[in-house]
Each structure stands twice: as structure tokens, then as C-alpha cells.
């Protein structure tokens, strides 16, 4: 697996427990519309991602992240900086 594929696999694994509606999740899945997450779920999920990858995802960055693919891209950028 490439590094992106590994990050992607980890993100999908972390999404699963929050995916209460059992939505099929892909790169284009949107957190608000497709997964139907409310702000509290987003907070918990972001905290989980932050702890797993040991990064900070500020609200400024979250505002730019609508889909799973965009989250993986953002994480790739953050990990590259480390």
C-alpha cells in the first residue's frame, strides 16, 4: 500500500464506529450530508483522528474539509510536515 492508501484505510476504520446509518463510505462521501453527522459527532470524530495521527485539525481546516477524500488529503499534508 502507498502511504495515502494506508492513511485512507485508517480513516475508514475510524469512521466505521461513527457510521451509525451504515452508509457506504468512499472518497466522495460527505460528512454532513451523506454520513449525516451533527456537530458533536464531528467533534468526537475529529478528536479520534487527531489522537490517532497525533495532529491538530483546527476549525479553520475543518471548514475546508467536506469529504472523506479531502480529509485524507489534509492528513497527508499534515503528516508530511512532521
Amino acid at each position: 500500500m502507498t502511504e495515502r492508501q494506508q492513511t485512507n484505510a485508517k480513516v475508514l476504520e475510524l469512521i466505521a464506529p461513527f457510521n451509525k446509518k451504515g452508509v457506504d463510505v468512499g472518497d466522495a462521501s460527505r460528512f454532513a450530508q451523506d454520513l449525516e453527522w451533527d456537530s458533536l459527532t464531528v467533534l468526537d470524530f475529529v478528536a479520534t483522528i487527531e489522537d490517532e495521527f497525533d495532529v491538530l485539525i483546527s476549525m479553520n481546516m475543518q471548514a475546508e474539509i467536506e469529504t472523506v477524500g479531502q480529509l485524507v488529503d489534509a492528513l497527508e499534508k499534515l503528516l508530511a510536515k512532521q
Binding site: 467533534l43 478528536a47 491538530l56 476549525m59
Partner: protein, 400 residues
């Protein structure tokens, strides 16, 4: 027709559905006459006020009113100017002196509202590449201060010391850090673990701002707030407060010991680009603040009221926001908005006003009946309030 208002359609529909059931609009009440800090006439009916944040009952204090009237006579109805131009009168200086004495701090800056105090200080302090770490349940004025500035915004789970620490440790080296906390969180009336949080923030090189809007005048030996009560006020860099709660008028402020604090008067846009408070308002505020300093008896009575209401409501079977009373706010958790609105109306018809709070103001999508007590509520009034809650709760099926 679709236009810029279309995004409000879901809210408009929800409101219409609620009002169609014949309920009184909970967000459109008029106080026709106000008799005292605890009683007003609403819809022609004498109503006990239990949702005003008028914690210390200063709105009808004779000294406060006399000071306001004298300032109106001596200085006129308004300043028509910014604090940095023609809007600083003697009264503004005296009000800032009263705040410095009250908090025992070197600097005080008075804003036209509490909202603007948070908006101005937070947006001005944290610049580009700086980080603001804040509690997720922070007040709208704190979030708006964050949004107005260019800093990176990092929220953490409510009152979670470990979550806050983790985020502070992940901030890139060299970046400026501001931790924003509240003493009392107004929705559930719970208090922050400031002792631990301030220590963690300081250990990680952050400056600390604490909003003490709901604790000023009441919590702490001298009424300075939760930071005083928990013994960490010396380590807090900025305290934000308001005149629209315990002080009993309108306005906001920031106090600090930072040696460069005064420069904020020139660079803080919500301070510079708005008119200053009217002379009568700063005169009432200064008089009230000086009286609050020595209001130990009132503080004691307010605690009694808070404890009695909390115990009484819990005994009736209501679900409350905190297990024990932590402030002068007692939040009654409602199962949903329709029940909350029905309960609110049942209380109003009996002659009791409380705040109906709903998302997005509330955490976790809760509907709350929020009660805020006043030091001027008599023991009889608290008894009356509990009786009305019992009747309304049974009528709406909230309690059995």
C-alpha cells in the same frame, strides 16, 4: 421564491409548526412593567422573574439609580463618540477605576457590551499563525471573536483537562497560544475546573483568558469569580466580564495585569469603531461594582436560593443540568422542544418567567428551561416557584 432568505426556511417552518399549536411565542415576550429585580408585569399578569441573570438584584438599587440620574443631568444622554476620540468622559475613567479596585488588577478596559469585549480582545490578541484553544461549549461571543481574527481555532471537549492538554502539546513550536475558558457555563450552570486547566495552560506556555460573565459579584470571596474561588486568579492573564448580569446595566470589560495592556485601546477594532457607553450607564455600573465588592450577605443569600431551588426541583423529579448547584443557574433538561415550549408556557400562565433555551445555543441539541436566581428572591418566592414547577410539570407530563 428563492432568495437570500431561503436558507432560513427550515427554521421558519419549525417556528410556524410550534406556534400553530396555539403556544405563546417563547422568544417574543414583552415586559410591560418592571416592579423590581424579581417581579414584572407580562401579558397583564404579575410574573416572578427567574431568567434574567440579574444575580445580585442591582437594577433597582437606590444608589445605582441616583448615580445614573445625576450623570444624565451632568453629562447628557450620550457621548456620540468612540472611546479614543470624544467618547471618554470622567465616568468611563471612574468605571475603569472601580473595576481595577474590584479585581485588584492594574488595567481595565470598558467596552460597549460584553459581546464586544470578547469579540475585541480575542480577535485582537490572537494573530495569524497563533492558536486559540477553547472549550467546545464556549459562548457565541467567544466563537465570533475567533471568527473575526486570523488565528487557528482548536476546540476541545467540554471541561476535559486531558483533551485540552493534548491539543496544547500538538501546537507547532513558536506559535502563540491563547486558552479561552469560562468560569460558569451559562447553559447548564456548571463550573470549569479552572485550577487544573489554568495550570496546564501555563505549563504549556499559553496565555489564559477567562470569561467570568456569570460568576462576577457572586462566586469567590470578593465576587471576582470562579478563578478567585479556585485560587488561580493570579495566573489568569485576562478576565472578561459584563455589566449586563450582576452589575445590572449594559457594557463589557477586560481586566489584566499585562504591562502592555493599554495598547489594546488603539488596536482593538470593536473598542475603537463604536460609540462609548452613555454617561448614565457607566455611572450606574461604577456605583454597582463598588457596592458588589462588599455584598457578602447577598452572596450568601443567593447561594441559599440556588441550593434550595436545585434540591426542590430534583425532589420533584426534574432532570437538572448539574448534580449539585454550582452557580446561580439551574438548568432543567426537557425531553424535546415541544414539551419544553409547553412547559415554558404553563409556567408563564401561572406567573413565572424562565428562559427557554434551544439549539444552537445549547450543547448536545438539548432543550432547556434555564432558571437564574437573584439575591433578591425571597424564601417565599422560591417556595412559590417550586409550587409552579410542580403544577406545570404534572400538567405537561414532565413529572409524575
Amino acid at each position: 421564491m428563492s432568495d437570500l432568505f431561503s436558507k432560513f426556511d427550515p427554521l421558519i417552518q419549525e417556528r410556524e409548526a410550534l406556534l400553530e399549536t396555539g403556544l405563546t411565542d417563547p422568544f417574543n415576550l414583552t415586559m410591560e412593567r418592571v416592579e423590581s429585580p424579581t417581579v414584572a408585569i407580562c401579558n397583564g399578569k404579575r410574573t416572578i422573574l427567574l431568567g434574567t441573570y440579574n444575580y445580585m438584584g442591582m437594577t433597582f438599587d437606590p444608589d445605582v439609580i441616583a448615580a445614573g440620574k445625576k450623570a444624565l443631568d451632568d453629562f447628557g444622554s450620550g457621548t456620540t463618540g468612540s472611546r479614543v476620540l470624544n467618547g471618554t468622559y470622567l465616568g468611563h475613567r471612574e468605571c475603569e477605576a472601580a473595576l481595577r479596585d474590584f479585581y485588584q488588577m492594574d488595567h481595565a478596559m470598558v467596552f460597549s457590551t460584553g459581546y464586544q469585549a470578547n469579540l475585541g480582545i480575542i480577535s485582537t490578541l490572537a494573530g495569524k499563525d497563533d492558536y486559540i484553544v477553547l472549550d467546545i461549549d464556549s459562548h457565541a461571543s467567544i466563537y465570533d471573536g475567533c471568527a473575526l481574527g486570523p488565528a487557528q481555532i482548536v476546540p476541545f471537549r467540554h471541561n476535559d483537562i486531558e483533551a485540552m492538554e493534548k491539543r496544547l502539546k500538538r501546537i507547532p513550536e513558536g506559535a502563540g497560544k491563547l486558552v479561552v475558558l469560562e468560569g460558569v457555563y451559562s447553559m447548564l450552570g456548571d463550573v470549569a475546573p479552572l485550577k487544573e486547566m489554568v495550570a496546564v495552560a501555563k505549563a504549556n506556555g499559553a496565555m489564559v483568558l477567562v470569561d467570568e460573565a456569570h460568576s462576577m459579584g457572586f462566586i469567590g470571596e470578593n465576587g471576582r469569580g470562579v478563578a478567585e474561588a479556585q485560587g488561580v486568579i493570579e495566573d489568569v492573564d485576562f478576565i472578561i466580564g459584563t455589566f449586563s448580569k450582576s452589575v445590572g446595566t449594559v457594557g463589557g470589560f477586560c481586566v489584566s495585569n499585562h504591562p502592555k495592556f493599554e495598547i489594546l485601546r488603539l488596536v482593538c477594532r470593536p473598542y475603537v469603531f463604536t460609540a462609548s457607553l452613555p454617561p448614565s450607564v457607566v455611572a450606574t455600573a461604577a456605583t454597582s461594582i463598588r457596592k458588589l465588592k462588599d455584598a457578602g450577605d447577598k452572596r450568601a443569600h443567593l447561594w441559599e436560593n440556588s441550593k434550595r431551588l436545585h434540591a426542590g426541583l430534583a425532589q420533584l423529579g426534574f432532570t437538572l443540568g448539574t448534580r449539585e448547584p454550582q452557580s446561580a443557574i439551574i438548568a432543567v433538561i426537557m425531553p424535546d422542544l415541544p414539551t419544553g415550549a409547553a412547559m415554558w408556557e404553563a409556567l408563564l400562565k401561572q406567573g413565572l418567567y424562565v428562559n427557554l433555551a434551544r439549539p444552537p445555543a445549547t450543547p448536545a441539541g438539548m432543550t432547556l428551561l434555564r432558571c437564574s436566581l437573584c439575591s433578591e428572591h425571597s424564601a417565599d418566592q422560591v417556595g412559590e416557584i417550586l409550587g409552579m414547577f410542580a403544577a406545570a410539570g404534572r400538567a405537561t407530563g414532565c413529572i409524575s
